[in-house]
Amino acid sequence: MEIIKTENLTKKFKDLTAVDNISFSVNKGEIFGFLGPNGAGKTTTIKMLTTLLNPTSGTAIIAGNNIIKQKDQVRKSIGIVFQEPALDTELTGRENLEYHARMYAIPKNKREQRIKEVLKLVDLEDKEDVFVKNYSGGMKRRLEIARGLMHYPKVLFLDEPTLGLDAQTRRAIWDYIKKMNKEEDTTIFLTTHYMDEADYLCNRVGIIDHGKILVMDKIKNLKKSIGNDVITLSCNNMKKLIDNLEKKDWVKKIKKYDSHLTLGVEKGDEKIPVIIELAQKLDIKIKSITVRQPTLDDVFLSYTGRTIRDQEVKNPTNLPPRFRRRKT
């Protein structure tokens, strides 16, 4: 059953098209991820789906309600964890949850019980009376996840849920996300630019870049689409080698980059000697050659022509100032 369905969703800011005509759907109970570099349009999409921004054109249906015409209905059925913390730091953790519960009209007798439940889910029971300003980054994020779940949302939106957190905390957050997906049967829509995060969490991902969805499928299928194994090699006269490799039917996919090329193949370790032999025959000198299982990085690279890391190195100034600060 589809719980999110968008039709030609578009958002333009003056001359910049942040989200360009995207249509997709998310099934009930899924963990769906939007994977893309910074500035790809992930947050703008979330803001439209959560009624914070009106789309320039197109629309979306969430849990049977239209995001433009039935804003209140949509708001009741969703929970959100924003990219930037959105807690009142002068209040305690419990107070933040309590105020949220009141805003979402959770009756008093249920409120207490629900606060206990969500605090337990994110292991913050012993910190409920501490002021949020004294929380660590990971605790804040956990509290926000708990808050997002307070009103039994059908869909929970997570915008870069582990941005700026250390490796250990990230792992813990991932487990909380999986847990709530399973225990509360909440559909999860998350955005991320971390490959490992998408890989670990999501059933299905959409790769988004420059406001467009380039591909959308199960992670397993995406990886398969570029071959069971990936061979990366660098050599002189790459063009000549490519011309010859392209004729071989065991090469599923071939892609050339500045300093290397990648091949998608079956049984990669058996193909290495074949390639080396071919290169010697052509008098091409191979500098390096490796074989490995395809990762989401390879998928991303093959669809966008670059890695997310490349882009961040090239355009560090594209990061919003707050993001830069949190990265340290």
Binding site: E84, L87, E95, H100, R102, M103, Y104
Partner: protein
């Protein structure tokens, strides 16, 4: 008819303001101590001079001005603090809740007005202890109405400012270049009626009607206009600023 959800939202926003106020001890102290210092030090300093147009003790003349100032500053701060929530992201959490923006802003305004009025009343009590005469029961009623109107008008003005500004950098500029001159002209610190030019300009100063009206209500002396006329002007101002302030907030995107 407002649903109970909307009432809950108003209550939550009000409660939040109150909790934050009580917890921020420094703000509590500053907002009460600062006007008191003005009243006591400036008041004692000026009472030694004979100022034409005042036939009462200067501290008593001064008290309504200081009460207005305290309520004005505190309420404006509440209005502008929307900007604070925007910068710290909390505004998004509020805007995405299934309640109307109108309820959110009403709750916030009520919270800010309550705080400002608490401060105003503390200063009023101190002024009375210092001997400020009260004109009578009707005067007290008028005084309270004026204080409430001043509080709401100023919250509204703060909300308008918050919707026009993107950060806090222009806030001191507005305080120093707009609010302070208006306060000087309002007869809060000295009577303007002796100088015709100043008095003419003062008629264009919204704060003049607040200070003059409050003075006329509280002590029944040294005011220029009958309090009821000033009240009419302030009421209209209040409706205008609150409408524009609420409207600008409802249009804000997080």
């Amino acid at each position: 008819m407002m649903s109970s959800t909307e009432l809950q939202a108003i209550y939550v926003m009000w409660l939040r303001q109150m909790k934050r106020y009580v917890r921020l001890k420094s703000r509590l102290v500053v907002t009460i101590v600062q006007p008191l210092l003005f009243l006591v030090i400036l008041g004692s300093g000026f009472r030694q001079f004979e100022i034409p147009g005042i036939d009462i003790d200067f501290i008593h003349f001064f008290a309504p001005g200081i009460i207005t100032m305290a309520i004005l500053f505190s309420s404006m701060f509440t209005g502008i603090s929307v900007l604070w929530d925007k910068q710290f992201g909390f505004l998004q959490e509020v805007l995405v809740a299934p309640v109307s923006r109108f309820s959110i802003i009403i709750g916030r305004t009520l919270g800010g007005a309550t705080i400002a009025l608490i401060q105003g009343f503390i200063i009023l009590m101190i002024a009375i202890v210092l001997g400020t005469p009260i004109s009578g029961p009707l005067g007290i009623l008028f005084t309270i109405i004026f204080m409430i109107l001043i509080a709401f008008t100023s919250v509204g003005f703060g909300l308008i400012l918050a919707s026009k500004m993107n950060d806090f950098q222009s806030f001191p500029l507005i305080m120093n270049l707009v609010i302070m001159p208006l306060l000087f002209l309002s007869s809060a610190f000295f009577p303007v009626s002796n100088i015709p030019v100043l008095q003419t300009i003062a008629y264009f100063d919204p704060l003049f009607y607040m200070v003059d009206g409050l003075r006329g209500s509280l002590i029944g002396k040294a005011n220029v206009l009958p309090p009821i006329i000033s009240m009419g002007v302030v009421l209209i101002l209040c409706i205008i600023t609150m409408s524009i302030g609420t409207y600008s907030f409802s249009k804000s995107e997080a």
